[in-house]
Amino acid sequence: MIELAVNNVAKDFGGLRALNQVSFKINGPELVGLIGPNGAGKTTLTNILDGVLKPTTGTVYLNGHRIDILPPYQVALAGLGRTFQVTRAFRRMTVLENLLVPAMALHATAHRKDMEEKAWGVLEFLTFEHLANDLGRSLSGGQQKLLELGRLLMLDPDIIILDEPFAGVHPKLMETIYEYITTVNAQGKAFIIISHDMDTIFTLSKRLLVLHFGTLIADGDPDVVRHDPAVIEAYLGEEDDDALTTTISQPGVHHPPPEGGPENDRH
């Protein structure tokens, strides 16, 4: 059973409080969206879950094990995979080698041959077979994103965090990524997806977390969150977010505000 528990996590950078008492839980293969205006602390939260940053206070548990004290590679092996906001394919390694890295790291005694078989399976899934021996740097930006997703499949984590998977990709590729998420999610993996693409995130996710100035201001059903006054306030306060205003002011059924504050977890 997948279980991620984030308890009162706070993070200070010098005087700046980037995260403020963030708590939530993920149980089972949920598909969670994480939104918030620029600088809200989404990437910081990802880095803390991943172990790149240590929280100033608070704890993170994955499947009952405390992971906030572990180095990133152990967090990865414990079952939490992530992509980066800026793609980070291994540029001078072939696509196949890119995929082998996490697989060989996960299976300390595995044979390369078996892992290559597995990698070909992933390549097939990504429809990438013809690129297997191309170098990472020769891929287009979108293909590199897919490659990162492929690497995560090879790592076989319980929870996958995607930092802006839809930023700057062609609509066709967007569909592919969308499909990837739903397929892998149906296979029993939990997702946390960070995105500024409101339409996509609202239709894709079954649950939405909203960060604002480092505080979790909403956590719940997307349709409920959409009408949360605090969320509307947070987004309307931003000047340059047209996507939001349209999504949020969409006519529709008026939901009552969510029952609890941000501290309330939904299980």
Partner: protein
Amino acid sequence: MENPTIFYYALLWIIGWGAVGGIVSPRIYARKDLDVSQAGLVGTAVGAAGGPISLLPFWYFTPTLNWRWIVVPSVIVLGVFIAAFAKADPTNFCVARSDYLTTQVANGLVMGSIYGLMALGLTLIFSILGVVSFAHGEFYMIGGMAVYYIGTVWFPGLNPLFSIIGAAIITFLIGLIFEVVFLRAMNTGQVERPGEYAILVTFGLAFFLQYLVLALVGANPKKVPRFVQYPDITFPSGAEAPLLTMNVRTFSFFNSITISSTRITAALVSLILLGILMWFLYKTWTGKALRAVSQDRQAAAVTGINPNRMNTLAFALGGALAGVSGASLVQVFSWVPWVGVLASARSFVIIVLGGMGSLPGAFIGGLIVGLVETIGAGCIPDPQRATAYIPAYGMVILVIVLLLKPTGLFGREL
């Protein structure tokens, strides 16, 4: 040394408790959920200063850290170190004779100001191109060689000022050509991994220039006569303990501090140059543009400054600064094609110590390294060993700074 054990025990105590403080303190700060970024450095300093006596309260109270927590313990460590040395070797000139020590200090500051000028060139290059030139010492060497050839071989009797200017022009041009041919490619994406490329290609330049000069001029040491023939003056004249006595060879201040006249000339040249450089950087349009680029490339480009041109200028100027340092020191030391190796290494130490890219840092770092070198060479009891170890003093500083505080004294956070 009379009682070397005292000194070695003190050293062992400082290093041992410093290491304990450096390793344990960050863990304690982390456990208490405090900011750990400075805990290692301060822990090392506090441990080295007082051992368990200061570490235990430090760990118990875990105070909020600021620069005082680094400076005060460092001064204490220095005091303990000096006291232990004095106790261990009471007959050492550095301990027993204050005039000897002050002479060493004065010489250290004089040499340090020249080192500082040279390092200033390196830090200027780094602040604008983001590159450490591993060929910096070769510019220094070529500066000296140029003075020798211009002033002694080609035009004997020429005013040394022209030789120095000639050296500056030659090193400036070499820097300019190299930057345009090799380094400019970094910004246009023509080379992969610009960071590694810059290291290797400047390294290659050092190798090339060193052997080129060796092939051209040979390995015989070159000697240049002193630039300035100071007259015999005593001031106030006829006094029993004059404030200043000067003659062709030496200057003597307060009848106790002696510095050779060639070093005084070299230091004067470098101080004048420092003045010109400051005027250039802070008063002229080009200088201001350079500083603007070093602070924010993009923003500078928007205001119409051509960053490529600034790169070339900075690299050539940095090379010329090294060249002039060499030009002013060629009358002090005898000159061979590999003098640049040590000079390069020393400049690396200085800019790391001062903080990469910091101009004041480079100058202060230069003074510190100058002091450490002359005092080290002058005070270590076994003179032969003391001289043999001169190149290592700086390297020890480098290694310690890189391990404890890679940003140096005035560096921006990485």
